[in-house]
Amino acid sequence: MKNLTKLSALGALGALAALPALAQETAAPLAPYTFEQSVNNGDVAWMSISTVLVLLMTVPGLALFYGGLVRTKNMLSVLTQVFAICAIVAIIWVTYGYSLAFTYGGSLDAYVGGFSKMFLAGVDLNSKVATFTNGVYLPEYTFIAFQMTFACITPALIVGAFAERIKFSSLLVFSILWVTLIYFPMAHMVWWWGGPDFLAQEQTAKLIAEAAGDTAAAEAAAANLAANGLLWNWGALDFAGGTVVHINAGVAGLVGCIVLGKRIGYGKESMAPHSLTMTMIGASLLFVGWFGFNAGSNLESNSITSLAIVNTFVAACAGGAAWMLVEWAMKGKPSLLGLVSGVVAGLVAITPAAGFAGPMGSVVLGLVAGVLCFLFVAYAKNALKLDDSLDVFGVHGIGGIIGAIATGILVNPALGGAGIPDYLSQPGTLQVAEYVASTAIMAQVKAVIFTLLFSGIGSFILYKLVDVTMGLRVKQEVEREGLDIAEHGERAYYM
């Protein structure tokens, strides 16, 4: 995904010259790379639809998915938490979040962006951001809105882990801190890069400088080529947010449920879901919205979008079928909750691989995620004595880890994958890099471990901070009465 700050600073020359065909004469002496920025109305339409699809995942999708799983007395608290996080993070996003995630961060650029676009400074109707194709751009507003929905849903995912016991005010403070200090830097580290044209321009400049023996210019160009997020430079692939969104939220959830402790009566009283009908509706909305999430992450409307749609569809179905069948075999009955949980697990797992894997690889990935997430949630969670109320870690954490690592395997063209993108070997075109399994998988493993540690430790500190100052948990009597009446002064159902 990409930025224009670098391009406008360094590529003013390129932006002026219009050579659409860009004949590549590799043998002849290199000319500086020049390019046009063209915006395609079809891309803008698709990205606008994707944006509202991802919003649909959060409200009402995720809210209902979670809401149905809690007890009647806490229904509204979960709906309110998800919706309020969405509202507040959206404002933060346009205030400073977008700037922290998607601008050049100076000396900290590997980790986080800067403040150059606070309050969307400098963004106007003519601002553009790069996509994944040379010369193809999106209006910056489109990109801002699309990425805003990601920032909104990620902290909302976490609330499932400590549902039915968190204090609302503390949750809001935690969420604000969390997106600021964990999410925006993660998004920057994984998704911040110069864009295809910037890379082509700098790569060409570097080759020219090397040919002319100008080491200073060559080094400057090399430094520009490396001015990407930390995990991007590791070669970690994350198409739509396996690390940034799912592992990140999953681990934050895991840490959160440990810090807050178990619900009163956990393991003794029945805490059965109050409406699996709501949960099914929510899961279905997540399923539908996820096409915007995954296929929209392509930023363009082209054949990779189509691939991502097919992959997302089949991985979700494979996840649902796998969970249902293995639950049927091991627990005796195929449950609706198992089926829809498996669908979500499959969706989570395919997220980082959506535009990289092939359809058959996606089916396998969905099946594996369905089985492993089931085993974690049905057995490991109890063994570990975790009260992750709605299985945020079991589904998003475990599914995200499986998906992130599998992306390094399934991207292999020999397995039907799309291959690792290479913008440098022939500047101005997108080539497929040679696949080296060890390199590709190691990059993914490193990214997973980094995310687990960064989000785990960072979230722990933030939880403790909020706990010490405000208290994270509601009072015992509030928890018994239910958060709806005690915290929000209303009830979901009159019966």
Partner: protein
């Protein structure tokens, strides 16, 4: 007069109502209840959480009839609600001291 209280399987309610209407019962009260008897409950599994549900849903009928009709009502409920499986329910018969129809003030058998 007798008060007949019966707890039966919910899906038998309509059949029992029809059969009782046929023998001349002109009113009853129905409540959805939960309870347990010799039929044990069941287990519900939600992902990793398993809950033993000890109370099973039943329907409770309350019927007040004249003494002469009581035995026939009991027999009709028994034969209609019966599935020969555990959990078919129970029937209790109590004596009733007085009955009043609110609209007219009629009492006892006339009020039924």
């Amino acid at each position: 007069m007798k008060l007949i209280i019966a707890a039966i399987k919910p899906f038998k309610l309509e059949e029992v109502r029809e059969a009782l209407t046929t023998i001349g019962v002109r009113g009853m009260m129905v409540t959805e209840i939960k309870g347990f008897g010799s039929q044990s409950g069941h287990t519900e599994i939600y992902r990793g959480a398993e809950y033993a549900v000890n109370f099973v849903p039943k329907v409770r009928l309350e019927i007040v009839v004249s003494d002469s009709l009581a035995d026939q009502v009991v027999e009709t409920i028994r034969s209609t609600a019966r599935t020969d499986k555990i959990g078919d329910g129970k029937i209790f018969v109590l004596s009733v001291e007085q009955a009043v129809r609110v609209r007219t003030g009629e009492t006892d058998d006339d009020a039924l």
